[in-house]
Symmetry: D2
Subunit: 139 residues, 4 copies
């Protein structure tokens, strides 16, 4: 399972472009790490919510993928993100956990925290689809 | 108003990094354009939902900003995105409109469409905060 | 299709308990109507958001159901509601439309408006599942 | 604080109509309880998602209210609910916790569980507004 998650993660150009790394994978739980990068800031100099959302979305996606059957591919159906505070600091940790997994839908929750902080600065509730036998969609 | 929107947009490094341009601005409505770029793809070769979400989030943010008083800054409080189909194609158009504006909260809806297509491949419902007099947060 | 929608609607005790009626049904679009009722108010005397959400959820659910194959049942997977203003007035109209329909997921948007008003006081973005052959789940 | 929460809860006709009780209140955390009632079912005989959403919305609202200043009133700005399984069983427990509280916005997460079960059948992520000095809106 871990090998499947790592192999899929490495095929996402967006993750390497944003400098997001896979820090931990277990069944139903994934942790990603991302550093501050001036290329991905918003107008106030903090990392753009878009980069944080992309990281949280991937964390939820791989947490869901980690509980899916080997023949399934994962697609995000929808997510809701609350941005609680700016992404201030040098390093951000995104953790995601599966809340409940059905055969075709998996629901996850994720949190983004500045390294060392106790409270998240963003939280996500995400709905992922398990896709089977769809041409062009591999895991 | 248009000048305020354009000036704020140009201070977002994330927008130029992702190649997102401001295509149209009017009171309560904003249109952004983005081209396919291999650096921002997911594991199936389509543009990553994270890039689309960042563009839709900005479209909603600037639509909200366009109806706020000149002294307000805008922050995304939360959004929900539904990803209806992969971001397939060469050019994507993100449009956002204000649904209703209060003094401190503005709600917008956005759609992402492949240029020339009739149905959106992603839709967003977004809640934006108008921020007044917060140190470090300018428009 | 209209007959299937009406028959399913009439089996929902919650709709008759809340006094919600089916006002219009066409393929991909449903309109429900509900009157102010003191039994369903919140602490400020307006109709509770829970009643409005139940009505909007049903409107989205039946809009989705109206485009599904006859053998499918519909379940709400998730929705996001924004409450823009109190539900003030005597009669409320909930309209929902399908944004895009896949085989297993349908996305709808809904609006709740006080009769005669131009702007909605609540908006919903909803993800519905088409369920096939699940014991105990009929349409 | 507990007295303020209880007094406000008792002014919501919707809660007594649905048979929802306040089971526990502490700073930043609220627990509500609701029994199965045939008047509030959907077409498959389970309690309607609208009743569950109303209960979870109230749980999040009072969790937020419990950390607000005494002069604030609370309004739900938006929420996202995922319905993971039908509301099967005789008694349902809704718990909500504050994730982070700002001066005007409070974000909460809630879970609905059948009494005795370990996994939630519904989860909510909610954005609440603290309202000050708005005519007609009291706590």
């Amino acid at each position: 399972m871990t090998a499947r998650v790592r192999a899929s993660f490495e095929r996402q150009a967006m993750m390497s472009t944003l400098g997001i790394r896979l820090a931990a994978v277990e069944r139903g739980r994934v942790e990603l790490v991302m550093d501050h990068d001036d290329r991905f800031t918003q107008q106030h100099g903090f990392v753009h919510a878009g980069a944080i959302a992309a990281a949280l979305d991937s964390a939820c996606g791989y947490a869901a993928f980690s509980v899916m059957p080997p023949e399934a591919a994962v697609l995000t159906a929808s997510y809701t993100i609350n941005l609680l505070a700016p992404a201030a600091g040098q390093r951000f940790v995104m953790t995601a956990e599966v809340v409940r997994a059905g055969r075709t839908l998996v629901v996850c929750r994720g949190e983004a925290t500045t390294e060392g902080a106790t409270k998240p600065f963003a939280v996500m509730q995400s709905t992922l689809s398990a896709v089977y036998d769809r041409p062009g969609i591999t895991h």
